[in-house]
């Protein structure tokens, strides 16, 4: 299909550049209710995206318009030509500051290794299924339902500058629900979505076991009390969400559009920081991440970059377009984030009273304003010696108001495309308790 499109493009006038992104996905999917297979699915699909560029000048200034279209494998030449002509016409109305396209690189990215390429997809599905139910061994807790996906993905990026690169990757996903029922009280459930790109024999059993234990704790939980002036500790997945704020503030696009005011050489946490300072690196080759890739969507070769050192913004990250606008070296789009652990051990963090929050309905961080909030599904309240599991109510706050004094745990966790502190301790966060 790529060759067919290339050939057609050669015969159409008025195109100043083009880029083709082809993605072929072969997928195996299993859907379980308790331990029974409820449905199996498979797919073989190809997605082709074509971006066309059209250059023009106004008042001596150069502009580059573009339009992106999807081309389907079942389109004939006539349909493709019509789509391309319509798109190049439309691109003439898109008035964006000029930017170049990626040129071919002589660099060779490290090879991505994954065990999934060493056996058939159906054999892996059987093995992964066995892993799902290893930890499903409790009398009062069980897996309610699970969905298991394994995709083999082939990516090819070709552009008019001569870039023609391809790579193969795997995307595994396990979505599961765990339930727990104590003798007294309601049956509870929790949700988990686990992503992976390589086989790790402990990943699925340990995640399932952890969720079952959290469900058990939730079944025992009492309503969150009304609390004032008590530090909170975010633990587990919410920590990953918390750090997306720092990632987005350093995005070249956010800076160019003036959504972010972060400046290189300045502290993102402001002056007079009393707690830990953030250290963040982007690593495109992180092991067992579904976001690892040798090239970004423009075909730019990717390598590791440092974003923040001791809270100081060292560089922006972005694709060639927005990096060109800011006159900086492009990093490409890298979606793996590594945050260095902080100064306190988990034990030190838990000295005194605190509310530790492990599971939310949906912990949200607004990367423009810094606001964060979530409904509590499970937390641990410690006041004095007693440690009480709590549920219900919510927390809310703003990162700009809390990150001058925050503490990151020394212990780190890995969650697909995130390696970072296991816990973060914050002060002055609003807690809306239930009773």
């Amino acid at each position: 299909m790529v060759e067919k499109i290339r050939k057609i493009l050669l015969n159409i006038d008025g195109i100043n550049g083009w880029k083709i992104n082809e993605k072929t996905v072969e997928s195996n999917e299993l859907f379980f209710i308790r331990k029974e297979l409820d449905m199996n699915r498979g797919k073989d699909v190809t997605h082709i995206s074509l971006t066309l560029y059209k250059d023009f000048e106004e008042n001596g200034k150069k502009y580059r318009g573009s339009a992106t279209i999807s081309l389907h494998p079942t389109m004939d030449d006539e349909e493709i030509i019509k789509e391309i002509n319509d798109a190049i016409f439309a691109a003439g109305f898109v008035k964006n500051e000029y930017y170049p396209l990626v040129k071919p690189s002589e660099g060779v990215p490290p090879e991505t290794k994954t065990s999934f390429s060493e056996d058939s997809m159906s054999n892996w599905m059987t093995k992964l299924t066995k892993d799902v139910f290893i930890a499903d061994k409790y009398d009062r807790g069980w897996i309610n339902s699970a969905e298991l996906f394994l995709d083999k993905v082939k990516v090819r990026i070709v552009n008019s500058e001569g870039v023609d690169v391809m790579y193969e990757t795997y995307r595994g996903e396990l979505e599961f629900i765990t339930n727990w029922k104590e003798d007294e009280g309601e049956e509870v459930e929790l949700y988990k979505d686990l992503l992976f790109s390589d086989y790790d024999e402990s990943l699925i059993p340990e995640s399932v076991d952890e969720m079952l234990k959290i469900s058990r704790d939730k079944a025992l939980a009492r309503p969150t009390p009304k609390l004032d002036n008590i530090p909170i500790i975010l633990t587990g997945e919410p920590v990953r969400e918390f750090f997306t704020y720092y990632y987005e503030k350093a995005a070249a696009r956010s800076v160019y559009e003036n959504w972010s005011t972060a400046k290189i050489g300045e502290s993102i946490q402001g002056a007079d920081v009393e707690g830990d300072r953030v250290n963040i690196v982007l690593d495109p080759h992180m092991e067992n991440s579904t976001h690892s890739a040798p090239y970004d969507e423009d075909g730019l070769i990717l390598s590791k970059v440092t974003l923040y050192e001791d809270g100081i913004l060292k560089r922006y990250w972005g694709n060639l377009r927005y990096s060109h606008y800011l006159d900086i070296e492009p990093t490409g789009i890298i979606r793996n984030i590594v945050v260095e652990g902080g100064s306190k051990s988990l034990e030190e963090m838990k000295e005194g009273a605190y509310l530790e929050l492990i599971s939310f309905s949906d912990f949200q961080v607004d990367t423009i304003t810094g606001d964060f909030a979530g409904e509590i599904r499970l937390g641990w309240y410690k006041d004095g010696d007693k440690l009480i599991p709590v549920t219900g109510g919510s927390i809310s706050g703003n990162i700009n108001e809390v990150h001058k004094e925050m503490y990151l745990s020394k212990e780190v966790q890995k969650l697909n495309n995130f390696i970072g502190p296991y816990s973060v301790k914050l002060f002055n966060v609003n807690i809306a308790g239930v009773e």
Binding site: N40, V94, T126, S145, Y256, A432
Partner: protein, 476 residues
């Protein structure tokens, strides 16, 4: 004008019928859904613009067969009459080999009955005033650029203002041994987003419109520009709410969010099959105040999810979920109905031809009541009027609710004070919230700017809404 059906799909009908015939020789049930969704997304913002295909664009097929135990599916994007044998082989591999391999590995397989279908041949093509494909992209870009430029005349604090317009032309066919269905419709949506900054404080506000409309939607958008900028400016003076329980009035948008998160997800009947829905225990019981009646269905309202048939070939219906406070029934896909022995309601929906069908919402809303908004505000001594959705999350098993709301407008002594709190998180136990509803306004408004996920995936286009409702809720 009538929305035309995809010529591509019409041309493939013969091939698809042949495929159904071939597969029917070895499988007791065979169906194929064919989709061709063609849409465009136009955005302008301060520094530039973009034109791209809509993220909902797709063209492909999904086959479902009865494998002797339950159902297997195969999604594909290539179709040719010359390669049907290979396709049959692939489907056989999924339905026979893969299932047998799992069985051999001691994995239990659930049992479903064979789907029995009535013979139905039906087509449905909706009407719009202006067909998007008949108007140049120049018109859209010029129109939305004018809207953006107007916004910058209203405030010096505006650092960016984006205008987004999206149109989707949906064509679907469903072929099985007994069904031959086709439909085409168009939905459009448009939104405005203002970002303002004062000193180092950045805030944003958005609004938009949507519907089963063509390009005429853009004319309605222009009337909203000034309010979007002014509301963004107001947010710069917003304060943080003191956590607590308050009397609240929910705007139709927030009422819709509650309908969607509180009881919409909770009555998706695939959740009944999995024993994930607390609603099962409450059928024919009071779950809300008797002022509350709630619907869902493709035939329940005219909005973005108003289709003739769902992605499993079941005709859309209007389901009365809550009738005067009493929970009556849920919404169902075909396979869940088969397991539960109930009637499917036309709510079996897929994110695309590549994904599984689940029980999903369509147009979900509370019915209107008899109260006037000014009387509702007048009845509150201390509380808030909540408006503008940020996000929501369901909890079908334990009936928790999380609604992130952009604006809480303060009410004191029966009047809006002009003070605003932002953002606000509303949480609580669903029946407590719904039973606290004490006033309901006269007019229902339905909106469809966003999309709905099941957990964190499987996005489908939905609408939701209601009248203004007065209730009591925990805000933080």
């Amino acid at each position: 004008m009538q929305v035309p059906m995809s010529k591509y799909l019409i041309n493939q009908k013969g091939t698809l019928k042949k495929l159904v015939d071939m597969l029917s020789k070895e499988f007791k049930y065979v169906s194929i859904l064919g989709t061709n969704v063609k849409g465009k997304n136009y955005t302008v913002y301060k520094t530039g613009a973009s034109i791209a295909d809509s993220p909902w664009n797709e063209r492909g097929f999904v086959v479902r067969v009865y494998n002797g135990y339950n159902y297997s599916e195969y999604s594909f994007s290539q179709l040719s009459v010359d390669t049907l044998d290979l396709l049959v082989e692939k489907i056989r591999e999924k339905a026979n080999d893969d299932v047998n391999n799992l069985k051999a590995a001691d994995i239990k397989i659930s049992n479903y009955p064979v789907i029995e279908e009535e013979k139905i041949i039906k087509s449905h093509f909706r009407e719009v005033e202006i067909l998007p494909e008949e108007v140049s992209p120049e018109y859209r870009i010029k129109k939305i650029t004018d809207i953006m430029n107007e916004a910058f005349t209203y405030s010096d604090l505006l650092i960016d203002f984006s205008v987004n317009y999206e149109e989707c032309h949906i064509s679907k066919i469903f072929i099985s041994q007994n069904k031959d269905l086709e439909q085409a419709y168009i939905w459009t949506k448009a939104s405005l987003a203002a970002i303002v900054r004062r000193d180092n404080d950045t805030k944003y506000y958005y609004d938009g419109i949507s519907g089963l409309k063509g390009l005429e939607l853009l004319d309605e958008l222009q009337t909203m520009v000034k309010d979007v900028v002014i509301n963004a400016e107001k947010l710069l003076d917003a304060k943080r709410i003191v956590p607590g329980e308050y009397d609240i009035i929910c705007s139709p948008e927030i009422a819709g969010l509650i309908a969607h998160e509180a009881f919409g997800h909770g009555v998706e009947m695939d959740m009944f099959v999995k024993n994930r829905a607390k609603a099962v225990e409450y059928i024919d019981k009071y779950v809300a105040s008797d002022l509350v009646s709630m619907h869902d269905g493709a035939a329940a309202a005219e909005s973005v999810s108003s289709y003739l048939f769902d992605d499993e070939g079941t005709l859309g219906t209007d389901t009365l979920i809550i009738d005067k406070g009493i929970l009556k029934t849920g919404i169902s896909d075909l396979l869940s109905a088969l397991r539960l022995g109930t009637k499917p309601t036309g709510n079996g929906r897929r994110e695309s031809f590549e994904r599984k069908a689940y029980a999903r919402m369509t147009n979900t809303f509370f019915e209107a009541g008899n109260d006037k908004l000014e009387d509702m505000i007048g009845s509150i001594n201390e509380g808030y009027l909540l408006d503008v959705t940020l996000s929501g999350m369901e909890d079908p098993k334990n009936w928790g609710i999380q609604c992130m709301v952009l604006m809480a407008k303060e009410i004191k002594d029966g009047k809006l004070t002009g003070n605003i709190m932002s953002p606000v998180i509303m949480t609580g136990y669903v029946p407590d919230l719904l039973k606290s509803i004490s006033m309901v306004s006269e007019k229902v408004q339905i909106a469809a700017l966003g999309a709905c996920g099941k957990g964190y995936k499987e996005w489908v286009k939905v609408s939701d809404g209601g009248p203004y409702i007065k209730a009591r809720a925990r805000l933080g």
